[in-house]
């Protein structure tokens, strides 16, 4: 009995193209959703979907390890923590926003104009960055790789990380360590001055 | 570090112990009872649905319409309808309603009832389709004679005396006299026994009755103190009274009489606990046997408690 290899079906010809367009469209739609959704938390969930789409693209490129790491670390690990952080802080953010709007409506015209510039600024930066990256990608001449993808690409990645690229790898880990220490310092309880009410100090420190 | 290891080992041991214990539970018989198939033998004083008992022996309704239960009921769920009979000038029960939807099964009504008519049965499956159907009228409340016997036996209630109207005058008089003489002895047991003895003799010789009663009193005082359930047998001049150790609480005295006694008389002689049955056969009961019976009766008496 001979059986068809689904992976081959995917990696060759029409199936791959179709899958690519589908996943790309999904990812783009979701990312538009991320920036346009008023609800921050839903935007966070959509971001998880975007990362899932990107991991699908990696899958199409036969980069299974990176695809799975994308799901495991970006989609589930990091974004989820961000979403949770948003959930814990969200009510306060909404209140501030409402206050700001209330203040803005009673401002003179000049300040309103300045405000609109200020509000449009992130979008401007995003557009500039997008155009820059797009131009850079277009201007580059991409060669088709002749290297065949080994079945055991995890071993290749592991070897590369521990030999040729061990220095950048270690630097990245130092960066993470620094971030970790910073987070601990931020979250650390402040020294309690008043011994009568120790709980207050701890609570205000940890939140 | 060593401390941590110790604690880790300790916690492993404890968790393992717990797992073992729980696993060993699977070899125990389940304590669950499969309810509709097997109903647990409920305690005698279980307070279930209320019901009206009849006299276990005669089937007479025991309610005398005294309305004590109606008065004592905290939920006011009892409603008694009665009227005064023009003939006997006594209260006659017309209807008796209990709203079981209101009842909280406190059992106060059963405590106050002078004739132990209203009792808590063991029935607790009273689910119904409407609130109205939870109001039980006298038909649904009244137990049959068999059921009444069952609950009287189970709850160890004293047997009620039959209605006075049914008694032939002579027998009633004899029994009454015997009872009074026994009461002078001051002991319930003696009273009961005396009454029985008196009943046995009622037809033959009235004089002997007093004697027997006296003898009975001694017997009762010396041997059967606390309860009225002592069972003793007295050998009087002509009738041989043969007592048999009965189930537990109910004393059955089978009085054998040579001169065939009418049933009505024997029943008239029934007092409190003692059930006297007249039999036609002659029974030989030597004194030894009789004493044995007494001993047995005493042993029985201690056992149940």
């Amino acid at each position: 009995m001979e059986f068809v290899n689904v992976q081959e079906l995917v990696s060759t010809g029409v199936a791959e193209a179709l899958a690519f367009y589908f996943i790309a469209a999904l990812a783009i739609t979701l990312s538009i959703g991320v920036i346009s959704d008023k609800n921050v938390i839903r935007a966070g969930f959509l971001l998880i979907g975007v990362f899932g789409g990107i991991s699908g693209l990696f899958f199409l490129l036969q980069a299974q390890f990176i695809a799975l790491a994308q799901v495991m670390i970006y989609a589930v690990g990091i974004t989820l923590v961000v979403v949770i952080a948003l959930m814990l802080t969200n009510p306060r953010l909404q209140n501030e926003e409402a206050e700001e709007e209330a203040i803005a409506s009673s401002e003179p015209a000049l300040l309103k104009f300045l405000d609109s510039i200020r509000n449009g600024f992130p979008g401007l930066v995003a557009w500039i960055a997008f155009v820059t990256v797009y131009m850079a990608i277009r201007s580059e001449h991409w060669e088709q790789s002749t290297q065949t993808i080994g079945e055991d690409n995890i071993a290749v990645i592991g070897r590369a990380l521990t030999t040729d690229y061990s220095l950048p790898f270690e630097f990245a880990s130092v960066l993470l360590l620094a971030a970790l220490i910073g987070a601990i310092m931020l979250a650390k309880a402040e020294k309690v001055e008043d011994t009568d009410t120790p709980r207050e100090g701890i609570e205000s420190g940890s939140n | 570090m060593a401390n941590l290891l110790d604690r880790a080992v300790e916690s492993f041991k404890r968790v393992g112990e717990g797992l073992k214990t729980v696993f060993m539970h699977s070899f125990r018989e389940p304590t669950t009872q499969e309810y509709p198939e097997k109903i647990q033998d409920l305690a005698p004083h279980f307070r279930g649905r209320l019901a009206l008992a009849v006299n276990p022996d005669t089937g007479d309704h025991l309610c005398i319409s005294c309305r004590q239960c109606e008065r004592v009921c905290p939920d006011k769920c009892i409603e008694i309808t009665a009227h005064k009979s023009p003939e006997t000038n006594k209260l006659e029960l017309i209807d008796f309603k209990i709203d079981h939807g209101l009842c909280m099964f406190c059992g106060l009504c059963t405590e106050v009832c002078p004739t132990t008519c209203i009792i808590n049965t063991n029935d607790f499956e009273m689910a119904d389709y409407s609130r109205e159907s939870l109001i039980y009228d006298i038909k649904r409340l009244t137990l049959t004679q068999d059921e009444s016997t069952y609950y009287f036996d189970k709850k160890e209630l004293p047997r009620p005396k039959p209605k006075a109207a049914a008694k032939p005058a002579a027998a009633a008089g004899a029994a009454g006299a015997a009872a009074k003489s026994a009461a002078a002895g001051g002991d319930a047991a003696a009273k009961a026994a005396a009454a029985k003895a008196a009943a046995a003799k009622a037809a033959a010789a009235k004089a002997a009755a007093a004697k027997a009663a006296a003898a009975k009193t001694d017997d009762g005082e010396t041997k059967a103190e606390p309860k009225a359930e002592s069972k003793s047998e007295e050998k009087a001049a002509e009738p041989k009274a043969d007592a048999e150790a009965a189930k537990k609480d109910v004393v059955e005295a089978k009085t054998e009489d040579i001169t065939a006694e009418p049933k009505a008389d024997a029943e008239a002689a029934k007092k409190d606990v003692v059930e006297a049955k007249t039999e036609d056969k002659a029974a030989e009961a030597p004194e030894k046997d009789a004493k044995k019976d007494v001993k047995e009766a005493k042993a029985d008496e201690k056992d149940p408690e």
Partner: protein, 469 residues
């Protein structure tokens, strides 16, 4: 002795397992073997076609490649029904009760009735809930248990032709990535329900899953280190040949002893010089044996670590804080009803099955027979198997209905998986729920350091011992 209830439980298990796996195999065989053979004209006794058209061949191939997914779709609902019933009956056994015994024959149809009831219940979306996310959450919760279990299929069926397609070179990593997705669904469900209890349940589950995924993954990574591969089929292949080769006993550290045991026990050729072969497995005279022993301890601890992490990952007692009834009503699924709740329920039990299967594949040798090969060879089993083989030859050879190797692999996998499930139920019957701070302390201050220490110890110990990898 409570023989009656134990007998009922085992009868239930045997009945439902036969139904479950029988149904799955009949479906797989029908779609993956019978219909393709029929339409391409290769089925014996039936119509014979010499040159089937390309369309027909394509359809046949498509059917075959869809078999793994089909098997899971058939398997998951039936299995969940069985596991719920099994859990309830076992718990009843442990708590000296009887458990469900009304529906069907001694309660065999209880969960089937429950499932039907759940499907017909009203599906309510609470006011103020985010309807889209509310609907999406059960789907995201359930989907990973279907596609995440795919690579395991080949491993547990002795690499059967039908399930080979589903195997991936990154097998275990893929499974772990899939297993990490449901937590997103839990947070989503908790948030979308517009309910404080649900939200707290969702947040708790996220915190818990992220904390306990680390020791879980570390323990599996350590096993992969010993095996030298992420491919689950290969990992199962390495562990073949009896209990001494299994990963739980040193990840192959004892396989040298396993190979030499027949010589030492004078079962085979006694003149054979074992010392050379011994040196091949254990290069340094005394140190290697000690290190093999250390490896055995490490892997047993890693197995415990895996089970703990898995328990927390799938929110089972004693780590069921996200759905703690006494504190949070029922956590993230408080607001769910009807079919959505059914999907949550289904996925929860499927997850239990999946983590048990991972433990079986990674630690307990997959479909391997626990009896060492050199004992098995000396048992007079060959005549029996030959007799059975000739008896069932029409099924085996002509219809390809039974594949003996797959059958035995599946049998042992079922035994091992359900033993772990039973153990999980026992734990559920024994241990009380953790408090949230204890849970975090236990995860971060005990399990993760332990996992890291074991990782380092294994890395060093395996340099002196020849392991699977």
């Amino acid at each position: 002795m409570n023989a009656a209830e134990i007998y009922k439980l085992s009868r239930l298990a045997i009945f439902w397992l036969s139904v479950t796996f029988g149904a799955v195999w009949v479906a797989c065989w029908g779609v993956g073997v019978f219909i393709p053979s029929l339409i391409t004209g290769k089925m014996p006794f039936l119509l014979q076609v010499d040159n089937p058209s390309t369309t027909v061949v394509f359809i046949a191939d498509l059917l075959r490649s869809l078999t793994p997914i089909l098997s899971l779709l058939v398997f998951i609902p039936i299995n969940a029904m069985f596991m719920v019933l099994f859990e309830r009956r076992s718990l009843a056994l442990f708590t000296v009760r009887m458990g469900p015994n009304r529906h069907g024959f001694d309660g065999l149809a209880q969960t089937a009735a429950d499932a039907v009831k759940l499907l017909f219940k009203e599906d309510i979306t609470p006011r103020g809930a985010d309807a889209f996310m509310f609907t999406l959450a059960p789907i995201i919760f359930f989907a990973p248990s279907i596609f995440g279990a795919l690579p395991l299929l080949a491993a547990v069926t002795n690499n059967h032709d039908l399930f080979k397609v589903a195997n991936l070179p990154t097998g275990i990593f893929y499974i772990l990535a899939a297993a990490s997705i449901p937590v997103v669904a839990l947070v989503m469900a908790g948030w979308a329900s517009n309910n404080k209890y649900s939200l707290v349940g969702g947040l708790r589950s996220a915190a818990q899953a992220i904390s306990y995924e680390i020791p879980l993954v570390l323990s599996l990574v350590t096993m992969c280190l010993l095996a030298g591969t992420l491919d689950v089929v290969e990992i199962v292949e390495q562990q073949k040949g009896g209990i001494l080769n299994w990963n739980i006993l040193g990840g192959g550290a004892l396989s040298g002893y396993d190979k030499l045991a027949p010589y030492w026990l004078n079962l085979v050729d006694t003149s054979f010089d074992t010392s050379a072969m011994f040196g091949q497995f254990y290069p340094v005279p005394w140190l290697s044996s000690i290190m093999a022993f250390v490896l055995v301890i490490c892997t047993v601890l890693l197995f415990g670590l895996y089970l703990t992490g898995a328990c927390a990952e799938i929110n089972r007692i004693p780590f069921d804080l996200p759905e703690a009834e006494s504190e949070l009503v029922s956590g993230y699924n408080t607001e769910y009803s009807g079919i959505k709740f059914a999907i949550f329920f289904l996925a929860e039990f499927t997850n239990l099955f999946v983590v048990s299967s991972i433990a079986t594949v990674m630690f307990l040798g997959g479909g391997d027979n626990p009896i060492p090969k050199w004992i098995l060879d000396r048992l007079p089993l060959e005549p029996i198997s030959n007799a059975l083989g000739s008896l069932l030859s029409p099924l085996i050879k002509d219809l390809m209905f039974i594949d003996p190797a797959t059958f035995w692999a599946a049998f042992w996998v079922i035994v091992k998986v359900y033993s772990i499930v039973f153990f999980a139920i026992l734990v559920r019957g024994t241990l009380p729920r953790f408090r949230i701070d204890q849970l975090m302390d236990f995860g971060w201050k005990r399990l993760i350091p332990l996992a890291l220490i074991l990782f380092v110890v294994v890395v060093f110990a395996r340099t002196w011992v020849v392991c699977h990898g």
